[in-house]
Amino acid sequence: MEKFEQVIKEAQEPITPSNTFVEETMQRITEKPNRHHWGLKLWLPVTASALAVAAVFVFHTPSSTSTPVRQLSSPTGPSQAAQAATTMASGTDNASLASDLATISDEINQGDSNLANANNAVNNQPQSITIPTN
């Protein structure tokens, strides 16, 4: 080793770590499993409770039928059936739901009847074409 390298080698400033270094490091290492343990103790009941509440909510939700009815009331035109569906969306119990469904059914039947009448009227008109002559 040349002299210059020897100079570098001897230039290291020796330091002494604090007396508590090993203990503090070991404390950090050995405390970690305990932290995880307490974490599980805390989070497992919380998660279980949240799942239970979510399950109760899901099973009781079908009594409120507003969501599927709103799908029926998507804007396809200002028909009477759509208006009836929109009205029905405000119903919250089974009785009003049944009533709303009956109204929709009546409106659809009425619509079919009107369409049939219109078709008959068109078919019964005389098939004549007038050609203007000068």
Binding site: F4, V7, I8, E10, A11, Q12, E13, M26
Partner: protein
Amino acid sequence: MDVTNTMADRIETTALAEVRAGNHDSYRILVERYHRGLVQHCYNVTRDLALAEDIAQEAFVRAHDKLAQYNEAYAFSTWLYKIAHNITYGYLRKQQFTEAIDDHQEHLADDRPSLDELTDREFTRQAVQTAIATLPANYRQVLALYYWSEYSYEEIATIMDRPVGTIRTWLHRAKEQLRKELYGKV
């Protein structure tokens, strides 16, 4: 000396196996064996004892937590120094350590004892320390690992995750830069 090292290596291997089996207290053997060298190395690079201890402690904790990833083809100390190296460079990038080094150099210059108070040897040592502090972080790291921690080129390459050729080049350039810095001063 070799017998002592072999014995220490065997104890270390046993301790590692015990830690892997869940006995975390056995990790103390590794901390006690390497903490002085690791703190010294971190200090050589950062020139801040409190920071060096924080980095070394974090390296020990991470090495423990990621022990499953340790490849026994390398010495445990090499892996430990590699983790410390990554933490140090992460810190240097985050804190823009270059500015801190500059401040630290001014601080060193202010606190430096007068020439009369220094022996030739001590004067030389401080001059070299000050010159090393001006080097880029990777050069300081290579110098510290090679001359002070006495790692081989191959081990330094593993620690710094660079090819051996790069390590040789960095060490050569570090010495040249240091020689220029010190020329006429020592």
